[in-house]
Amino acid sequence: MRLECKVNGENREVDGVWEGESLLYVLRERMELPGSKNACEQGECGSCSVYLDGTLVCSCLVLAGQAEGREIVTVEGIAEGDELHPVQKAFVEAGAVQCGFCTPGLIVATHDLLHRNPEPSVVEIREALAGNLCRCTGYEKILDAVRLASERMNA
């Protein structure tokens, strides 16, 4: 089938999509946007998180066809031009990135959190990011990064 949607502000059109493909698969394998990650493909780890019409979703749980005519923002669309978004900067500076496989999902989820709640408390951060598994960091540096980004975005 043919799929038309807007991804990171650009109109995209892909042909030959098999009906069973997930949005994650189409982004990664058909649109050259492999930033969203395939850690579990079961909606458990959050590494494939993207915005679908402004709502945070696991793109592995969205069928490609459901994205028809809709607007998607992936981790590749978070930076502001060549300038990193404050959330991205904070993750690098706070040491919240190790292997980095969870990072794209966490960047999008944190971006979403700080837009909904610019000054989250520690428990609010924990609750908001509980759907994003990280196996390397023990999460401490991720908390630091979210707090740092929050401070800077509110400054």
Binding site: W18, G20, P34, V75, Q88, V97, V123, E127, L133
Partner: protein
């Protein structure tokens, strides 16, 4: 055949993000060179690789833990549109088995399968779904056999042999002093059990194999050790090493789970057969079957001590389930035997460590490697002994702490530094987390969280301590080395250092530390760490907490060799006196006087040195388990504070405090990341992480059912770092990756025992054990749940309501 048109493989892979510069030297927190591409999504992992014309590989796995293969019929799969190859064991061109220590694992099974998930056939197709569907069309006739699913049962004489060599994979006996002839005032015994933990790295096993058109192959892969993969892949492909070239792709975590091969040989076979690039990517379920796990163990201990609390003897029998194939079980068995007594002065010891083949999933390397299992047991025993003696558990440990100059039970002298006493005393006096009132709290700060199961009632606090240690580097006579090539040149008018090694960056930050070392040693700001590949010599594995020691050591040595040559040039060409020259900020300096800039001196010349750094020789253990087996020992102690809902068995870990000796802090931020991340895996093992295996079959191969700690589960970590230099190590550093995982688990269990008064001898602990629900009662409750309460109201089909 349908599908994609053939495209000649040119250069694979999309693009490599540009190297970013950052000026950190040894001892500073630096920005990871791969940090920015990782936050923008540009960083290329092995599952992101893509080439025009590539095919997708898939693996057919045995549904049975133990079966004879009567026949394999691939004809229907071969006829499917979009399928380019269906291969079995008959198509393995070279050695039909692989393995790091003992090559006993079939590349593709023939005659027999020995675990559920064992690869039987592989497929290449033009779409991953086509490949998966083709797997369903391969018809394998199995004669299902009774699985040998228990390590103790595998030891019995009447057990069927799973391998020609028998079921005993390895046995290590450590005999030290005279246990039989020693007498103790008090003795405590215990039996402890540990479940099968998974590394659960997030990046699935994946890679891309590209035939070079001349009979050779290039493999882009995530692994922990490129050269051991290269060696095994070449043997099974029947090729020379130089025909099989490996390049490290982005690695999404490892923790031991990428030491063994997964899809490497399979992807290469398919690529060579189809003459097309072939990509293979496991999904999460397959990943649980695609790598080895941490060994489950049953451990029986007896500790004897004087009334004053001095250890007299330790007797221990450790039984490990190695699963169907050898992997690195030999080394795990040896490690466990040498660490079985803990970091204590034990005058008499008798340790038996047994490793068995079974029909369970193969087990091998995971962070902590044999020390984790032993630490849970010896620390549980120390707490029992403290209770028996009425002593403070930390005081008992301090009283028996091993010290430099003493001997470990396996005969090796304890090298300096070994600050066991000091790290214990430090975690003891570190400030405790404030005791907040239990009522009126945010639910998320109570055990059970927003499940709304307690508002503070029946919540008890507990505190527990543990200490552990781990060998750094490869042991027992292995010639452990790493290779580094360092090139100094001038580019764009500025000096540039290129560092080339085969060391696998798996997330730990090795690429950052290598650059810091080069900047420190050569006084040059711009350092490029080149992609790791097999065009440079082996770096050994990114495991055993060894890579900063070994590859860091090699980079340091290569930089020193380059520096010597630069300074020789200055002496030869500028007539400077030998001696007091150094390189600082891109210039040659003598007595704080700039003599010449590197850019001017070198002009178009390149200075390159390649070195191998071998660590000090170690020795195998003798028949009594005695020998200088290990290179270096790294120590950490942990204190856990927990809150437990004692009625429901739910736990909130309030805080973990730790003290660890690292010799030298190479990069504070990366060090903290290792410690916090290691503790999270220790917490997972204590409370939730277990691959549940029933009669050889895995019950929970998903992140829905295999639970790892989330950000809600992980408490703040309070840490104190000691820098007691190891005089034999580069910069005095000690390996840091594993100790955080080793003693954090028993500290949490000790805290749970403190809160509940229960024995908790099996980990991960389950709520019913914490709440003290007996097995019998639990089974009754579960049975009632199965009937959904129908026992009281009558089953729907029996109610006959009108």
């Amino acid at each position: 055949m349908t599908g994609l048109t053939q495209t000649a493989p040119v250069s694979p892979i999309r693009k490599r993000p540009a190297t970013t510069w950052s000026p950190g030297k040894v001892g500073e927190s630096d920005r990871r060179p791969d940090g920015i591409p990782k936050v923008t999504g540009e960083f290329e992992y092995s599952s992101d690789l893509w080439m025009d014309g590539m095919l997708w590989g898939a693996t057919l796995r045995s549904p049975h833990p133990h079966a004879n293969i009567r026949s394999i019929d691939t004809s229907e799969a071969e006829r499917m549109a979009g399928v380019y190859a269906v291969l079995t064991h008959e198509d393995v061109p070279g050695r039909k088995v692989y393995g790091m220590e003992i090559p006993d694992q079939p590349v593709l099974a023939w005659e027999k399968v020995r675990y559920q998930g064992e690869p039987v056939a592989i497929v290449a197709a033009d779409h991953p779904e086509t490949a998966r569907r083709a797997l369903e069309k391969i018809h394998v006739e199995y004669e299902v056999l009774e699985p040998l699913a228990d390590a103790e049962a595998a030891m019995r004489e009447d057990a069927p042999n799973l391998h020609l060599s028998g079921n005993v994979l390895k046995r290590v006996h450590v005999r030290h002093g005279d246990v039989a002839g020693s007498s103790a005032d008090v003795l405590v015994t215990g039996e402890y059990e540990i479940g099968m933990q998974d590394q659960a790295f997030l990046g699935p096993e994946s890679g891309l194999a590209v035939p070079d058109g001349r009979g050779g192959i290039d493999l882009y892969i995530s692994t922990q050790w490129l050269h051991i993969d290269q060696d095994q892949v070449a043997k099974s492909l029947g090729m020379d090493q130089d025909q099989v070239r490996l390049t490290l792709s982005g690695v999404g975590g490892a923790f031991g789970g990428r030491e063994d091969l997964s899809m490497q040989i399979h992807a290469c076979m398919l690529a060579l057969h189809t003459e097309r690039p072939v990509k293979m990517v496991y999904n999460r379920e397959e990943s649980f079957f695609g790598h080895v796990h941490r060994h489950p163990a049953k451990m029986r201990y007896e500790h004897g001590a004087t009334n004053e609390g001095k250890l007299v003897y330790v007797k221990a029998r450790l039984v490990f389930d190695g699963g169907a194939y050898a992997s690195s079980s030999n080394a795990v068995c040896l490690n466990a035997a040498t660490f079985a007594c803990g970091p204590y002065d034990v005058p008499n010891a008798e340790i038996e460590s047994h490793m068995l083949y079974t029909n369970n999933p193969p087990c091998g390397a995971m962070r902590g490697f044999g020390a984790v299992q032993a630490c849970f047991a010896h620390e549980s025993q120390m707490d029992r002994l403290a209770e028996e003696l009425g002593m403070d558990p930390v005081e008992l440990r301090v009283k028996n702490a091993i010290e430099p100059g003493m001997k470990f039970p396996f005969g090796q002298e304890v090298p300096h530094p070994a600050p066991v006493r000091e790290i214990l005393e430090r975690v003891k006096v570190m400030p405790m987390p404030e005791e907040e009132g239990l009522t009126g709290r945010d639910l998320r700060e109570l055990p059970g969280g927003v499940s709304n199961v307690t508002h503070g009632e029946d919540v008890k606090r507990g505190v527990g301590y543990a200490v552990g240690f781990k060998n750094v580097g490869f042991s027992a006579g292995f010639d452990d080395y790493s290779t580094a090539r360092v090139t100094l040149s001038v580019e764009g008018g500025e000096p540039l250092v290129r560092v080339h090694t085969a060391a696998a960056e798996v997330g730990q930050g090795g690429v950052m530390v290598q650059a810091q070392i080069a900047r420190t040693e050569l006084g040059v700001e711009k350092v490029a760490v080149l992609p790791a590949d097999t065009s440079v010599g082996s770096a050994g594995s990114t495991s055993a907490s060894r890579q900063t020691y070994m590859t860091g050591g090699a980079v340091k040595m290569a930089c020193e060799a380059v520096r010597d040559r630069v300074l020789d040039l200055v002496r030869e060409e500028l007539g400077e006196k030998p001696g007091d020259l150094s390189i600082e900020d891109g210039s040659i300096v003598s007595d704080e006087r700039e003599i010449v800039s590197l850019a001017y001196l070198l002009d178009r010349r390149e200075i390159e040195e390649t070195v191998e750094f071998h660590h000090k020789e170690t020795r195998p253990l003798d028949e009594n388990g005695q020998g200088d087996a290990h290179l270096q020992f790294a120590f950490a102690a942990h204190r856990a504070v927990v809150e437990v809902d004692v009625e429901l068995g739910l736990v909130r870990v309030v805080e973990i405090a730790t003290a660890q000796d690292v010799g030298k802090i190479m990069n504070p931020q990366a060090l903290e990341g290792q410690i916090e991340g290691g503790i999270a895996q220790g917490l997972g093992l204590a409370l939730m992480e277990e691959i549940q295996v029933n009669e050889g079959k895995v019950q929970n191969a998903s992140f829905t059912d295999y639970l790892t700690p989330t950000i809600l589960d992980m408490p703040p970590v309070r840490m104190e770092i000691l820098e007691l230099a190891d005089p034999e190590a580069p910069y005095g550093l000690k390996g840091v990756g594993e100790p955080p995982t080793i003693s954090s688990t028993p500290a949490i269990i000790a805290a749970l025992r403190d809160a509940t008064g229960r024995e908790l001898t099996r980990i991960p602990v389950k709520p019913e054990q914490i709440a003290g629900v007996s097995e019998k009662l639990r089974d009754e409750i579960l049975q009632q749940q199965d009937s959904a309460g129908y026992s009281e109201i009558g089953r729907l089909d029996e109610r006959r309501e009108h």
